[in-house]
């Protein structure tokens, strides 16, 4: 009969950490970059259905690298937490910090208590009303959470991509500019480009998954930029697209938005909070 041999806690943690880090570094990278109107997610992801980037709530987005099944279940948990909180309190009471905390606790618990740690790294991003109030949280496999300014890079060769971004990132860039900087940084390490084995210099629209949290959008800020909307942005050579000029809707899946002309407070489930009796945003009854 084999006896379990003794391993010190330090050794155990180190081994688990190494295991998780190795798993994560095999994957392609994701960059989350702030820009003038919000937060931009860029992932190298040839699949158009298995997303690495997703919407958690009105102003909160999610990006992940690592093992798909693991971060997908975490994404679903985040959507559930956000929706349950928003439903039982109010939509305004759902914050990125709450969700990031829940992720940190869960990842930490899994890391210490389970044999196999999750091989994932997550980013929870929240847009505020001004660029100063945007929040980026990085969560690692061991449950540590860091609040980082400007940008976050995760996945394989994150250091190289980060270094590239640090060199070229400017606060308050336009969307096209931010996208160009981000794509260049990712392309510099990608195996699919000339940096890898002699492909084109930059990643193409088909190899990228791009989404934004746009603070100018009412209610749900998350929007995917795909296909016909993405190509002109990539080709625009970083010339700052005029604000509002980059608005083509994605055909695949446009999240619901109260249409223009909807008075404030309507079109959001928060409106019935008042019992539906208050003339929310409309004309107050003059009795």
């Amino acid at each position: 009969m084999t006896m379990p041999y003794y391993a010190s806690p330090e050794q155990l943690m180190r081994d688990k950490g190494e295991y998780a880090r190795k798993g994560i570094s095999r994957g392609r990278s994701v960059a989350v970059v702030t820009y003038a109107d919000g937060v931009l997610f860029i992932a190298e992801n040839p699949s158009s259905t298995l997303h690495k980037v997703g919407e958690l709530y009105d102003r909160i987005g999610f990006a992940a690298v690592g093992r798909y099944s693991e971060f997908e279940s975490l994404r679903v948990a985040g959507v559930r937490l956000a929706d349950v909180r928003g439903y039982s309190y109010n939509r305004r009471d759902v914050t990125g910090r709450v969700i990031a905390n829940a992720y940190a606790q869960t990842l930490g618990e899994i890391f210490t208590q389970q044999m196999k740690p999750y091989e994932v790294e997550l980013c929870v991003a929240e847009v505020g009303d001004t660029p100063e109030t945007d929040q980026l949280y990085r969560l690692t496999f061991d449950g540590s959470v860091v609040d980082e300014p400007d940008f976050i890079v995760m996945g394989g060769q994150a250091e190289t991509v980060s270094a590239h971004l640090r060199e070229h990132f400017l606060p308050g860039m336009g969307l096209a500019e931010a996208l160009r900087v981000g794509v260049q940084a990712l392309s510099a390490v990608s195996p699919a480009t000339s940096a890898g084995n002699g492909g084109p210099a930059l990643l193409s629209a088909e190899q990228l998954e791009v989404a934004v949290l746009d603070r100018r959008r009412p209610k749900r800020a998350f929007r995917r930029i795909t296909g016909a909307a993405l190509r002109p942005l990539l080709d625009s050579d970083g010339a700052d697209a005029p604000a509002g000029g980059e608005e083509p809707h994605t055909a695949a899946h446009a999240p619901s938005v109260p249409q223009p002309g909807t008075p404030p407070g309507l079109g959001e489930p928060s409106a019935p909070d008042s019992g539906g009796t208050a003339g929310s945003g409309g004309e107050a009854p003059t009795t």
Binding site: V84, Y87, P260, G276
Partner: protein, 280 residues
């Protein structure tokens, strides 16, 4: 500790189970007390002490569908609210109007809105219009016990069908009964205490393939006629500047008509009726 205050201690196990994409089903396992259908049903009829919403009308037109509701809620013989809103967007391509016990109905609308958005976020796709209509039927069915104690909720659901076959009208209307029965209506529908009069009015004014303006007029006139004969339905109120709430759902999505637009239609109708009365 209630389950929905998660966050301090990570996700409870239910959050990490991959059980499905329905918010209602998830609440049933994680926080059942938040669901309207899970509460004990009152032992005595309470219909007279709770506010009730009244008439909702929906009509199709060439470009989609319109839904409107009056602004009155009643409690027995009292008017409990003059400016209640009973028509809500369910998501970007559908609207829901409610008649019946206002408190439960509004809670149900909120749950339904989250349900549709939740599905959209988890699956990355929107439900089909029939799927949305079915989902609502299940929620109404869960309320049957309360309905028998005077807390019935009867919604009207309408939407723009993005998957409509060419040649079929894209605007579709679904009506419900208290048992969760789900019926697709042709052309127009009305629910609530004034629905009888509204339907009779629509019978005379509505035609297939009306344009948007004529359909809006037909809808506001039906609400006017309902208010004329049903004490629980409120008419246009120029003194307080309260007019029916009207939503339009077309290929662009669901939009609420502005108060000014609806007021103009309402005033045209009032002027015409006044003129006709003067001649009589």
């Amino acid at each position: 500790m209630s389950e929905y205050s998660a966050g301090r201690s990570g996700f409870p196990p239910a959050y990490l189970d991959r059980v499905g994409s329905s918010f209602t089903d998830f609440l049933a396992t994680a926080a059942p007390d938040l669901l309207p259908g899970r509460r004990p049903v009152p032992q005595l009829p309470v219909g007279d002490v709770t506010p009730h919403g009244t008439t909702i009308v929906s009509v199709t037109y060439e470009g989609g569908v319109l839904m409107g509701g009056d602004r009155r809620a009643t409690m027995g013989n009292l008017i409990s609210s003059r400016d209640i809103e009973k028509v809500y967007p369910a998501d970007s391509y559908s609207v829901i109007g409610i008649a019946g016990a206002a408190g439960i109905a509004i809670e149900m609308v909120r749950l339904y809105q989250v349900e549709l958005e939740h599905y959209e976020k988890i699956e990355g796709l929107t439900l089909s219009l029939d799927g949305k209509a079915n989902r609502l039927a299940q929620m109404i069915r869960g309320n049957l016990g309360a309905a028998l104690q005077g807390l019935a909720v009867v919604p009207l659901f309408a939407g723009f069908d993005l998957d409509a076959a060419p040649g079929t009208p894209p605007g579709r209307i679904f009506s419900y009964d208290v048992t969760g029965g789900n019926y697709e209506e042709r052309g127009y529908a009305a629910v609530g205490s004034g629905s009888l009069f509204a339907r009779n009015s629509l019978k005379k004014t509505w035609r297939p393939n009306l344009d948007g303006g004529a359909a809006t007029r037909s809808l506001v006139e039906a609400l006017y006629d309902a208010a004329d004969d049903d004490s629980a339905t409120g008419g246009p109120d120029p003194v307080r500047r309260l007019y029916p709430i009207v939503y339009r759902v077309d290929a662009e999505g669901a939009v609420r008509l502005t108060d000014d637009e609806v007021a103009e239609v309402a005033h045209t109708i009032i002027d015409e009726r006044a003129a006709a009365e003067g001649q009589g």
